[in-house]
Symmetry: C2
Subunit: 241 residues, 2 copies
């Protein structure tokens, strides 16, 4: 049956349907200077060239939507297998004055450090911006970021996504800073430790990171199996706020 249908144009099969333009946009989060940041770009194409925006692209006719979102991320960061999830589809008629364009927004978590942003990023005008210093973005992109933040916070509250913002090896101090950045609160050191160590998510590595103190602080890695379980089952990451 599929092959039978393939030879018909869509207009014949769905005569009442009208084609719309479909884009994907990416909200990319990272933690820098103990603050949650978003990756922004200076738009290169008209209309609205020169303004700040999220990264995005049109979805090609023969391209899965998810693939389009991955393509953007890959092009931008050079990395694959980043944490990326669909956020929401923005579909108001007037959201883009340039035409009827839907945007399927995706959100990603990435650790800002080392050389993980490819040269291509440096060729674009890109910058990390802390949440409290977001400029006016084009179209409804501010709304997208707002929704993404809300979603990130909900996710991070009951699922172990916070770890996606850290390197493979990390200290409890770093982990706490990530959670403080996500929720924008101060967390009690001793309660944080207790709860995280109880979660079974960490594997102690019996070595120390000496870069931030005289005493040094123990390094841990994430127990992947436990991570998947808690991602699935849920776990409470409230820390007394």
């Amino acid at each position: 049956m599929k092959s039978e249908l393939k030879n018909l144009s869509k207009e014949q099969i769905y005569p009442s349907a009208e084609g719309l333009l479909v884009a994907v946009d990416s909200i990319i989060f990272g933690v820098r200077d103990n603050q949650l940041n978003v990756l922004l770009f200076e738009r290169e194409v008209e209309p609205l060239a020169g303004n700040w925006s999220l990264v995005g692209s049109f979805v090609k006719k023969n391209e899965d939507v998810e693939k389009a979102a991955s393509r953007i991320l890959k092009t931008l960061t050079g990395l694959e297998n980043l944490f990326m999830e669909q956020l929401y589809t923005f579909g108001n008629v007037n959201r883009d004055p340039g035409g009827r364009v839907l945007s399927i927004a995706y959100w990603s978590l990435i650790r800002i450090d080392q050389n993980n942003l490819k040269v291509s990023v440096k060729n674009h005008k890109a910058k990390w911006v802390p949440l409290n210093k977001l400029p006016k973005l084009i179209l409804d992109h501010n709304e997208m970021v707002k929704k993404a933040i809300k979603h990130l916070r909900e996710q991070a509250r009951f699922h172990p996504v916070g770890f996606e913002l850290l390197p493979k090896e990390f200290t409890l101090v770093q982990l706490k800073l990530v959670y403080e950045a996500i929720f924008d609160v101060r967390i009690d050191d001793r309660n944080f430790r207790k709860k995280i160590l109880n979660s079974g998510l960490l594997t102690g590595l019996n070595k120390k990171d000496m870069s931030t103190s005289k005493k040094g602080s123990f390094l841990y890695s994430l127990n992947e199996e436990r991570y998947r379980l808690l991602q699935q089952r849920g776990y409470n990451f409230d820390f007394g706020f």
Copy 2:
């Protein structure tokens, strides 16, 4: 600027973009016979006429996506202000053999009772189906339902959405049956009571529903303000399972 752009065709403004067909589909949940049910329809149009599916419709060129989803619900049930949220956009190239069609799925909660499904439903071939008796649906609709169930369970676990499946006045017994239906578990009666009454969500009405027992069971209504607060803040609706 907007008026300037309005006179250009979208091809001039976004020359690289290709129009795709966009549909919305609705996963509508209700509780019947203490079981979570989904509302299914016999598809009337080709291709695949005669098969069971979710309700859906194409998004019109001058119609907000959310409006399209509301339109479907309204047409179907005659009710407005139902609980409805966007679930996920299904965007694989080959999800519909009839053409490149994206589908933006929405999920709804409705209480099955009285005459709340309009005549229009009765004219369509529609039926409520318990989750464990879902037939094969068209396209990727089974996947949509699966995702919606997962999402409903996550939502119901930390937000007070369960109440959307009940009438304005309800008993603790009914409420418990709703939660048992959603999570497909048995909940301890006494612990359920304690936790729900502690949540501040209920207003006692000092009258009884006598239809299910000699003793009768007290009726309650939902404290709307508290509902909104907990919808926002989150509240734990785990009941020891």
